[in-house]
Amino acid sequence: MLGYILQRLVYLVGVVLAVSLLIFFITQIMPGNVAYLILGDFAPLDQVQALEESLGFNDPWYLQYWNWISGVMRLDFGDSLIMGRPIGPMLLDAVRNSAILAVVSIFVVALFGIWLGVFSAIRHGRASDHTVSILTYIVLAVPEFFWCIILIMVFAGTLNWFPATGYATLDNGVVEWAKHLVLPVIALVLGLTAHVSRLTRSSMLETIHSPYVFAARARGVPEKKVIREHALPNALLPTVTVLAIDIGVLMGGIVVVETIFSYPGLGRFLIFGIQQMDIPLIQACMMVVTVVYALSNLLADLIYMLLNPRIRYGQSVDG
């Protein structure tokens, strides 16, 4: 077990470093001269060159990379080129806001998606199963940005139940805070819930038809108990691992949702950085995303290891 954990950890560090290199290289070849962006299109050449020198653009690539990555490891993300302020504090706020969305969403997806999947698996072939199947099918065909628009149109526009944009801090009261979260969360969870529910359903069905479940029935265990105690634990194993991977998908959704709802989170920051060609900002946002995703994958591996006796206890052979 120790070897397994160590291997995953080393692996995680390696991947994060590799991705950081990737991010660095891609952003270094961005078009658009940043210096001109800052100084204006008509700035004199020597000023431009001086600025480039001071920004470190004339150093060899590995030196630039090292400066950047060593800063990141100290949690110093440099200054935003456009806003001229340190990125760190701004990033912290943005990350916190996005984290709220993400955590709430993952809970909803996990609870609702799993329940729906088990529900339709138990009622396999019946009308309720078909209904759920059709609904999830349709939901999966709709892109997230469209969900946002529909939600805004219906709930914020026509019904006016929830605000269409922005974010309210807890100082304004929990209700107001919650109201701003509802629509973005719904937009985020719809597609993922459909996906998790389908996955859980097929995993459950496979488990329900497995030999060991059959053996339990043959021993006279009542059906409800069979489903709950024999089938479910095994069926949930793939779902749990997929949930962790879905955190990555969720972060992708966050970009779109935050943009549409003007929610001040990591995604909106990133879009802003891209539109303004603010390289340090882009790099910082992407690094945060990468690390979060890598950690969630590690979490998935650890949960899988805890739940899977074969890995946890290893192979012990007795006579």
């Binding site: 070897g3 053996a215 021993r219 095994n234």
Partner: protein, 690 residues
Amino acid sequence: MTDNILTLEDVSVRYGKGADALHAISDVSLSLERGGAIGVVGESGSGKSTLALALMDLLGQGAQVSSGRMIFDGMELTDLSSQDRAKLRGKRMGLVFQDPFTALNPALTISRILTEPLMLHRGMGEADAKTAAVGLLDEVGIPDPKRVMGAYPHALSGGMKQRALIAAALAGEPNLLILDEPTTALDVTIEAQILDLLAQLRIERQLSMIFISHNLSVIARVVDEVCVLYASKVVEFGPKQRVFNAPSHPYTKGLLASMVKLDVRHDRLETIPGRLPDLRRAPPGCFFAPRCPFSEAACEKPQPMIPVEPDHQSRCWKAVDLMAVPWHVTDAEPGTVKTPGRTPKSGGDILIARDVEKTFTMTSGLRALKFDTSGGFPIRYAPQRFTAVDKVSLTVGVGETVGLVGESGCGKSTLARCLIRLIEPNGGAIEIDGHDITTKGATDSRVLARTAQIVFQNPDSSLNPRKTVRQILSRPLRLYGDQSGAALEKEVEGLLDMVRLSSRYLDRYPHEMSGGEKQRIGIARALATKPNFLICDEAVSALDVSVQASVLNLLTDLRDELGLAYLFITHDLSVVRHIADRIAVMYRGGIVEIGPSDHLRTGPHHPYTEALLSAATTLESDNDTTRVRLAGSVNTSGARITGCRFADRCPRKIGAICDDQVPEWKETADGVRFSCHHTLEELSRPVEQR
């Protein structure tokens, strides 16, 4: 007036609807006395598993009992609701089925699996259930039951898993135990242990049993009466001795005749020609008639069961007369196209293998780090290595057949693949027909392909599903022959003829052929490069008994026609004795005995061979006082072996010398060689019972 615990009257089970419907079992009648045991024998497609499912009310969707009565302990099962039937499961009727490797829930401990039926059916509380579970585990012969309670299924060996499953099935104290191929997935020596256990449990618990299997000799160990199923119908039913010694139905006769028997010297095996009928288009009369050498016009009428002797019935109007008639059907005479075998380069041995070694590394790198608080630095680098082949030496002469016998994990398949370089060995020297194939670059793979080929075990995966027979056979001919066009086509047909298949098969795909036919194509493909040496890796193990016989006949014919040498790998002692000139016995990566096959039945032998022989089931009921049983199962930890490789399980173990010193090789007067610390005299004496 016998007290029957179970009576079946004309039971039929139908699958599907309308035109596609078929009856998996039809008009099945049998009766089981309380405390008795019936063996249900059938090959694949006979419907035997359906019988078990029907009794337990575990038939899937789309299947139902369409007619007949099932009376269990006075209750009409067909009249009961499904809730009531469910109440019987586990409590009055238990089921143990084939694959122990997938029948245990990997997420639950053995304790949890066993306490559940105890609490459910016998109303125990958790603490009592745990105690009772330990008692059950002990009863089924699991050593150290307390530790096993806390273990998960993956930690148990195959035999242990099956014992645990038997314990779980017995937890509810059922009166009837149904076993569906319970030992088929297990090694021979483990199978023997389980069969002993079942015989013992039957007596101690006064269980009634239904034992379903395709293997007649396994059934013979445990049951009193035998019921033979063919294509959904019972064709014969009677006391075990009578059915085996005086079979009356032609199918039973054919089945018994085509079995390879350890004690009888065969020249050519009897076979049952043809194939199973399509049950969707069932003929009105006898299902077996198309394949029966005794069939007549009258066989086209529906056949009822008729009494042949007291308590012995048969579904054949000629049964009484046929009791005295032997079954004698052999394949068509060897094919007419004689392709001369390629003359081997060397005159002597076609295969010379010396000290072949193959070690697999299971974990390496970071995974191999382990916590170890037993002293020194707490983190150790301990890569797991498994030595599959441990310095094996073997020779096969030109035209000779050497049998390689061993149970699973002994390394025989790995050795085979090393010999034709499908796997790269880590050490040793191998020469095929004088060509050195271990030194890198010494021999081209094409040269090797012309000399040695391999026939695989599994007919379902040994042929490319997307190629027709013509494509499968043309490819090697094109690569290694010099013909093309029409001449090539003729060669392909020649190959088909060699394996006794007509040219009708040229355009068939693998999924359109039966197991036996696919194996024949596999053999034809191997022969296409005109090799002198053929490795048969369990080539007949996946086939039904009757089909096995005809493929074995084919292999012996080909060997005689073409002068082939064989390395015949199998776990079945009777088969290897039939086909091989010499037999090598393998255990845990090494050969422990090698000698002429004629002397397989006469001693003395290596203790492992002795155990294998004792475990090999025969049709005679086992009053054998020289029964040798091995405890436990094969050690697969990959730990370094010092001393004798059989030391940890040997019933004749002397003491520490077996663990520490590698035994010398000894040779008997008959030319049987093995390595053991005992003297030949000691080995001639029966082993002491423990």
